[in-house]
Symmetry: C2
Subunit: 396 residues, 2 copies
DNA sequence: AAGGTTAGTAAAACCTATTAACTAAGTTGA
DNA sequence: TCAACTTAGTTAATAGGTTTTACTAACCTT
């Protein structure tokens, strides 16, 4: 499974060492500023072990020592943080409307980014185009002198769970593309970990991995764009993105929520995507793929049928959120994707529907936090970079 | 997390030893008859390690040596199997219509079973009733001389992911019941691992853990009974059942598939359970909870509206299966629960709907195997026993 | 300034898997 | 029939990691 790491079988002691290293790393990532003693307490490792592991991590540029913090009497502990200065990861998204790239550091800060709004053509030329942009990005002064950990690429379609291959991208017209292989043909790209993943999965992973504050137990990221996808993540020290048998985990855009409803481009009727998606809304408004949906909607905001259309789309989104809750039951929901540019008229009906239809099962327990990412231009690209970091961390 | 084990952080070397022990155990469980050398090859451990671990496992009655098998030249390997003679696990299901109990061995064979068809009253008296039945079961001759690994209890409602507490069983009228605590008050029950889980989760786990032949990567078990639930399992050596934030993973009966449809007992409209469930079908046919659904349906099989009702229910089930595929995308689907007694008239429309609505995403990849359990009387109880074994195995 | 408290380090002991060499037990073929 | 070969499994020494234990460091309280 080239796209995931689950430490499930032992082997040698190296395994244990690497396990401890990444456990400590993830402990600091989840709560920056812990001291060696804190880490020992939290992980169950001894102070001595933590001390020696931290030393190597500091030497290799993954951790840095921070300020002292005194707590009552006794020698104050030395705060530890992920070192944001010595490494970077490249993340890219091949989106339906263009290419987006970021370089970010171990803390998830974007050091440099670029985007080029022009739909990808065929896979080969897109690889060439992306390679050029990547090499331009690597010239950025903020990156100078850092080591590159690798490159993650997010794509708009399911990726095979057994190999890093994009199996189908309906909105690009690509089928079974080994995009990383194409990229490898390009000159001057950096070594390191190379990963390919679905755009929603990558975004979900990034939001979880670089979560500000203590991350939830699990998280679902709904990507509302041309189509509707969803990525799921959970796992304390080793966040895992379930992919499923055919890489279709979270393809909620094609769950049927209106039997006998409108015809979807997938061939079925009543898919969620026929009610809420960039594709369906553009269709209903008579727009082209290149037209700005939010601009058009804003321009026609006064028209009753446009209002009703967006309202219905919002309610369908709320229903999807509810169904997701009764199926995957994540600890947190994040809404992202270009549809978020529609703002209140779409989002408010969605939230209202979600709130109004909490049933007995949900009502009695703590309600689920919902976060909305208004501008998710680089969310997937940064998420792909996060996946690179997670993989590199276990090989430190 | 008393209900799950995920080996994620290291600690000491004991951890590693136990990890290797249960890895080897699960390797033999998944492919019975392997030799020590085979295991070494498959797990990546050395022959020496495998040899010593296998020795302790044989001594402790978890593995037994079988026949020799010669493959070409060279010394023949000694086949290894799980030892079905020295241990047993107790599994029980507190169902809406009665109590079901099994004692089974490490291979998943049911050594003894009993069921008592009378709806559970309040939690306390039910615990007393179950305890009596358990102690009766333990007198069975097939169990004599074996060590009991523990007791697993399956219940018809979501279990809190943080504590072994049944949060809500709408069909029993129970709320926040600590059923294991009640059981512990009863005399003479055996020690060992005690677990509580949702009935669909337990069934899913059991079907996965005791799968005949090589188990799929992941599996979803749809429990079609008074309500509709679903359990999911995946994980090679350490199968994991995701529970979610509030224990609602797989509560697909309350996903909405017909907005504005019939009123569900949960308060919402158009839940799947309003179309396909023992509850809704009895309602439509004017039956009591105690009436046999399958008998009534068979008696009225000639009536057109009954036929249509069952047909619609089957189609709703097929739609649920399809939506599940676009959300959790398991490698295998298993259908169980008392609704399966309705046989062809329900199942055929479900399978037909599922087949007919495979969309582009599904069509190009290998289709998903579907297994139907006609008689799932003891499936959940045996699954609960399987969970006990899995837990006990990591502490061997 | 002495005593108390917590943080972190150093060296030895310990434990487990590996390595490498061995024995065991079958098949093949002259 | 027997030597050569091949694969299975065991044994003893080694290596590599974590822990234990004892220590030093550094700050606060009185």
């Amino acid at each position: 499974m080239p796209n995931s790491f689950t430490p499930q079988t032992a082997g040698d002691l190296n395994y244990l060492k690497s396990l401890n290293r990444s456990t400590i790393l993830s402990t600091v990532r989840r709560s920056p500023g812990l001291s060696r003693a804190d880490i020992a307490l939290e992980t169950g490792l001894t102070k001595a072990t933590v001390g020696s592991v931290v030393q190597t991590l500091v030497e290799r540029g993954w951790l840095r020592e921070g300020e002292l913090h005194a707590r009552g009497g006794g020698r104050p502990g030395r705060a530890l943080y992920l070192d944001g200065e010595r490494h970077y990861m490249l993340g890219a998204e091949v989106g339906v409307k263009g290419l987006r790239l970021v370089a970010c550091n171990l803390v998830g800060e974007i050091l440099a980014s670029s985007h080029q709004e022009a739909p990808p053509a065929d896979p080969v030329s897109t690889a060439t185009r992306l390679a050029k942009l990547l090499n331009q990005l690597r010239e950025a002064p903020a990156i100078a002198g850092r080591r590159c950990l690798g490159l993650g690429v997010a794509v708009p379609g399911p990726v095979s769970p057994t190999a890093p291959i994009l199996s189908l991208a309906p909105n690009l017209g690509w089928i079974d593309v080994d995009f990383l292989a194409l990229l490898r043909e390009e000159p001057d790209l950096p070594d390191g970990v190379w990963l390919l993943d679905n755009e929603a999965n990558a975004a979900a992973f990034g939001e979880f991995y670089f979560f500000e504050g203590m991350p939830p137990e699990s998280l679902a990221y709904i990507s509302a764009d041309i189509g509707i996808g969803c990525g799921v993540v959970s796992g304390e020290h080793f966040p895992v993105v379930p992919r499923g048998y055919q890489g279709l985990v979270g393809e909620i855009g094609h769950t049927v929520i209106q039997p006998g409803g409108a015809l979807c481009h997938c061939g079925n009727r009543g898919c969620a995507e026929t009610l809420v998606s960039g594709w369906a809304l553009r269709e209903s408004l008579g727009l082209d793929i290149d037209d700005s949906l939010s601009a058009s909607v804003q321009a026609r905001a006064g028209e009753a049928d446009v209002q009703a259309l967006i309202q219905r789309a919002g309610e369908a989104l709320g229903l999807l959120m509810l169904n997701l809750h009764h199926t995957l039951n994540p600890s947190m929901l994040i809404l992202g994707g270009s549809l978020m540019w529609l703002k209140g008229p779409l989002i408010e009906p969605a939230l209202a529907y979600f709130e109004a239809h909490q049933n007995d099962l949900l009502r009695q327990s703590q309600s689920v936090p919902i976060k909305i990412i208004e501008d998710s231009t680089f969310t997937a690209a940064r998420g792909a970079a996060a996946q690179v970091m997670a993989r590199a961390a276990i090989e430190v």
